[in-house]
């Protein structure tokens, strides 16, 4: 009676193991996933601590506005309910006077005064003056004491500055980064001409990045093509020349360019020796120097992705196109170039993004006219210690990078439809 026994077998198995096959698989896989997870855990922790968290914290700085709220919490609370048209009620004056007395002379108070001074020059001295006049003498109300200290406390406009910063977040820095500001009524308006520099800075940053990227592509494409079509022995030698600069520090390379390009430098001397020019060309401390050095530094980032893509394009594609009657140059454009496009995209994206964040080369080789966005980030972090502006400028660069990347993946994603089917 073998047949009945084989029939009952599966039932017996399911009865003993109520777990479904899916659950069993999940359990078996879980252990594996945990093992792999444990292996990369140190890296994940390292990245979170040194990369993701600082970036997030810095981006938050671009909208952070803690000074007023932390110095005057009660006043801020009350000012948020104020209509803003007439002078604020007495309770506001009382709370404000209390909090000034409480924080007088502390760093919190100084930070708040400095913050208000950014809104309106002269506000710091107003605050100091007011603090000196407080606490109010016996019998006088807080309002009287404040107005006594400075009549400006009677005007609603003065309180507006406090009220506008009574919330812990502000778009002020981000607006300033695109040359916008709040007017007295709280509307977003064009910044004054002498402050409106950042749109130009960003335009210059993008423009210079685009030019450097274009030059890198122009110079890198033929070399990558040559490397991809040469026998390995020659290609390896070329490859060494491409990656050699990678092993040298950027600072050293920039300094070298400085030496080469200056008016008494090797390049000018050589050109004069050959009689090509009569007086030295200005090759450094202007855009020429910046372009030369940046193209030189970023060229490998263009060549390597191009080469890796071109290496995978079989020469038989162009041969096939030629055998079908297409002239060689047209075959190249119709067949080879479209196949190399993912490499062109990746190389351009890489160079452009690196370019946007470039600091040291324009700082050392350029004039003030060539300074890019990151120069101002450095300026705000190192010189004026204005973290809000530094963070806001960085945030805009970061957003631009993300947008570029998304556009790139969209474009190449559509292109790669066929490649994915492979």
């Amino acid at each position: 009676m073998s047949t009945p026994s084989t029939l009952t077998m599966p039932e017996a198995i399911t009865a003993e193991t109520p777990m479904s096959l899916k659950e069993q698989l999940a359990r078996a896989e879980r252990l594996k996933k945990l093992k792999y997870g444990a292996l990369i855990l140190p890296l994940v922790l390292f990245l979170v601590l040194t990369f993701i968290w600082p970036i997030a914290a810095l981006l938050k700085r671009s909208i952070d506005n803690p000074e007023i709220v932390s110095a005057f919490p009660a006043t801020s609370e009350l000012l948020r309910q104020w209509d803003g048209k007439n002078a604020p009620p007495d309770a506001v004056f009382a709370a404000f006077a209390d909090e000034i007395v409480q924080h007088k002379g502390s760093p919190v108070f100084a930070a708040a005064a400095k913050r208000l001074n950014m809104e309106l020059p002269g506000f710091r001295s107003l605050m100091m003056k007011t603090a000196r006049a407080l606490p109010p003498t016996a019998g006088a109300s807080a309002r009287e004491a404040l107005v006594e200290a400075d009549p400006r406390w009677e005007e609603p406009a003065t309180w507006q500055y406090l009220a506008r910063n009574a919330s812990p977040y502000t778009a002020r820095y981000l607006l300033a980064s695109v040359d916008r500001k709040y007017d007295d009524a709280g509307n977003v308006v064009q910044a004054d001409a002498d402050e409106a520099i950042y749109v130009n800075v960003f335009a210059r940053t993008f423009g210079m990045s685009a030019i450097v990227t274009a030059f890198c592509l122009l110079l890198g494409f033929p070399l990558a093509y040559l490397m991809a079509t040469q026998p390995p022995r020659i290609a390896n030698v070329l490859m060494i020349f491409v990656v050699l600069p990678f092993w040298t520090s950027i600072l050293v390379r920039v300094a070298a360019w400085l030496v080469l390009l200056q008016s008494e430098g090797l390049v000018n001397k050589a050109l004069m020796l050959f009689g090509l020019i009569d007086q030295p060309l200005e090759l450094v401390f202007n855009s020429t120097g910046v372009y030369i050095a940046m193209v030189h530094i970023l060229l490998p980032f263009m060549i390597l992705p191009l080469y890796s893509v071109m290496k995978g394009i079989s020469p038989s594609y162009v041969r096939a196109a030629v055998s079908l009657g297409c002239p060689p140059i047209r075959s190249f454009w119709k067949v080879y170039f479209p196949l190399a496009l993912p490499g062109v995209g990746a190389g351009c994206l890489l160079v452009f993004i690196l370019c946007m964040g470039y600091y040291i080369t324009p700082a050392l080789l350029g004039s003030p006219k060539e300074q890019m966005a990151s120069y101002f980030v450095a300026f705000y972090t190192n010189q004026t210690i204005n973290w809000g502006m530094a963070a806001a400028l960085s945030a805009i660069l970061f957003a631009a990078t993300l947008v570029l990347y998304i556009v790139y993946t969209k474009l190449v994603g559509g292109q790669d439809m066929a490649a994915r089917a492979r």
Binding site: R319, A320, V322, C326, P328
Partner: protein
Amino acid sequence: MNKSDLKNAVPHVTFRKVQKTYDGENLIVRDLNLDIRRGEFLTLLGPSGSGKTTCLMMLAGFETPTGGEIRLGDKVINSVPPHKRNIGMVFQNYALFPHMTVAENLRFPLAIRKLKASEIDAKVTRALDVVQLGAYGDRYPQQLSGGQQQRIALARALVFDPELVLMDEPLGALDKQLRERMQLEIKHIHEELGITVVFVTHDQSEALTMSDRIAVFNHGVIQQIDSPTALYEKPANNFVANFIGENNALDGTVESLHGETCQVRLDNGARVQASIGNVVKPGSRAVLSVRPECVQLNAQSLGCANRLGGYVKEIIYLGDHLRVRVELAGRKELVIKAPAAQHKHRFDMGDAIHVGINPEQLLALDPSVAA
């Protein structure tokens, strides 16, 4: 046109004293003379490095001959660039453009020739129908199987009505079963369209299946160019005899000539009658070549002019036939293919056995051209 007209017509392609060297020292192709007839299926067959692919590439225009001339019809095409030769080509790995759909791939050669849109569409549809892939126009090449890609590559090489079609080992990447089906399919398409095809392969059974004529290459020289039958039954030299099909080789010395046949003394002392291949002088060394299926055993060998004695060393049963290894005197071995129905259970390992070979099927060849 019948066969004799074909032979008399002006050759479609002519190679005259064509030479090719890459390094200036070794000739990959040496002194090549070849006439390709209009409408024939010619296969260039040979081991790798024998110059067959170089020959094809020179015809396509991707390699330039170092010397000699190549004519297409009566026009010398040595200096005609490949895109002006109007020669269709099927590549080893198909070389279908991965960024274009199947239909765009087929449209490519037509668009370059600036045909009218309606004409292009009609030609593309017809070409897809010829290879039975009418429904696949919108797919990308990577979405097709190897066999389908192969057929699209063929359709692309045919769609612009080229002068002739070249194929460079187009079936190498397919598995055995698919390869055999495609061989017949290509052969039928060739018969249907009557187009001249030059096909390169190193697979001799592929060459035998498909070709009108086969040119056997070795060391840059055509060893023999003939129909599959002639190539198999009357190999011109020792290389061809060994390269095409299975072959038994017996060494000996020519003693005398008698018209079509000669007498050869084998190294083990036996004397046999053989047809004269490319050995003519009495006294010279010779290799006697005989196909395994042409050797008769026992009773069947009674009528043969040459009879030799030996021992059965091995019997392998292969269903329709037996493979019998027979050791002759002098430790010389013969492999014999015998019909299973006739010989099953008639002899056993170690038995003494008679083998017979007819002189027509024993070919005396010059041993100097080694395989």
